[in-house]
Point group: C2
Chain length 333, copies 2
Amino acid sequence: MEVNSQMKDGKYAADISSIREAQVRISSLIHRTPVFSSETLDSMAGRKLLFKCECFQKGGAFKFRGACNAIFSLDDDQAAKGVVTHSSGNHAAALALAAKLRGIPAYIVIPKNAPKCKVENVLRYGGQVIWSEPTIRSREDMATKVLQETGSVLVHPYNDGRILSGQGTISLEFLEQAPEIDTLIVPISGGGLISGVALAAKSINPAIRVFAAEPEGANDAAQSKAAGRIITLPETNTVADGLRASLGDLTWPIVRDLVDDIIIVEDKEILEAMRLCYEILKVAVEPSGAIGLAAVLSDGFRKHPSWKDCSNIGIILSGGNVDLDVLWDSFKK
Amino acid sequence: MEVNSQMKDGKYAADISSIREAQVRISSLIHRTPVFSSETLDSMAGRKLLFKCECFQKGGAFKFRGACNAIFSLDDDQAAKGVVTHSSGNHAAALALAAKLRGIPAYIVIPKNAPKCKVENVLRYGGQVIWSEPTIRSREDMATKVLQETGSVLVHPYNDGRILSGQGTISLEFLEQAPEIDTLIVPISGGGLISGVALAAKSINPAIRVFAAEPEGANDAAQSKAAGRIITLPETNTVADGLRASLGDLTWPIVRDLVDDIIIVEDKEILEAMRLCYEILKVAVEPSGAIGLAAVLSDGFRKHPSWKDCSNIGIILSGGNVDLDVLWDSFKK
């Protein structure tokens, strides 16, 4: 059992103990999100699908779990100076909301091209928005400047053990709600969600399969797995605005070791899956949130060697923060 | 307590006993739908809002409750010949699905202008679609023809005690999930939903307020309450395609006696409420389903004498069957 020995060695930035501690820390602050299923979608997929609806999480996405765990892990002196992050949106809103609950300031560096609704969420939760150019470099520079000026603590959107541990609490709930799950399909971007989810799920059930779902136009994780090292892309092109980040040095080893495979999907498959979520499940998901369903229904997955063994697939609908205007323009393309 | 004595006299087509019987009959067949809340919407309304998410009900709407109760009330000989109905959609899909569960035929007369997704639902559930012109007269004539040819049983969308009793089970669940509710806001069309809901709710808590929400362009219930008799409109004009029916002789006495008032809302308020359901609650509702939230946020309700006393408002999000294409065209108007 190489996997378990690795975890016991503390090889990764989180483990089942830190995830269980996170659950104790945040359980009174977060929603225990429901698990939905649909006979219509089951018959489309030819197997049982179970949807963990993190779009109903506070702040509209799973990100609130990690943000809560990070913020409520701080000692009082650290906390008082506030937190800072740069994010395309859901982590930003989540951090602002968690900071509001603790009564500390949250400084949020946001690229100018972020979806309007995500910015509105940050403002609604009392976050202090600091605009940057839409490049990783500009975002990081601006965050560093704020850190220096305020003495606040950086909470990275995903390359942070506290964040991984918080996201991992999804698996604890999901496998309790639906212990029959034999396969998990999880969106991948920077790897924070899937790292936490895989660590917890494989600790509970070492036989469980964990697949990542990644957009064709931002397939750095698939390229990284193939190359055996972190690959970053000069640019990304996908409708899934939450899935454009690159793996970090804390998430990469977990993705490398614990993610069984990566399923690549096209934007049109993501949009079709999003439409199914609206029309069949009646759940409003963002493109990034629908990618797990897109992966299950994709030709690529149907041809996968494991396909026939995946009888009960758990899919994380990771978030639901979408501008309806932008959504519609996507459908019309 | 005039209300209770009326119910005990068997004055209405349903009562708390028939509603509790319905609950026993259908509870293993239906979803116990969740209750959602949102601090953002609470602060917009200035009070606590609790949303009963019937859009997550099987078939995508509350209608499945009444349809199940009607179909599983039939004796075997009656049932074998099947059921027939005419409906703008949600009742049709619900009846088809309930008939499928019992293994009997469902003949569904549908007007040619019904939303595509509602027709697709009927077909998905194995209903036999019979098209009519988009008039009540044509629908009823066609239904009569089918009844004569098949010997099947008519299950009216709302003017039927079994239907009222099934819909009333919503109140039993809702007041158990959120006993603090002091006010219910319920969409009104033919009156099947609000009649069942009001009968059950006022039986459990006689002090509870029950308000109907009705579109300005189909305000026959408000006109009926004002006139003291059933008023039918020569035509209706509203984006809420599920709210165009007129009261029936079984629902009217209950609406007259037990509905405290009717809140009229404009189509633009309905569409704005629908957007809030998508963007804040992450729940896909149809226009008819969002009208309760529209009513709570309307100027009309804020000026209502009861406004200041409504601290915990229960809102029924009645359904979520919407063509995204049609939805978007509505927003663009």
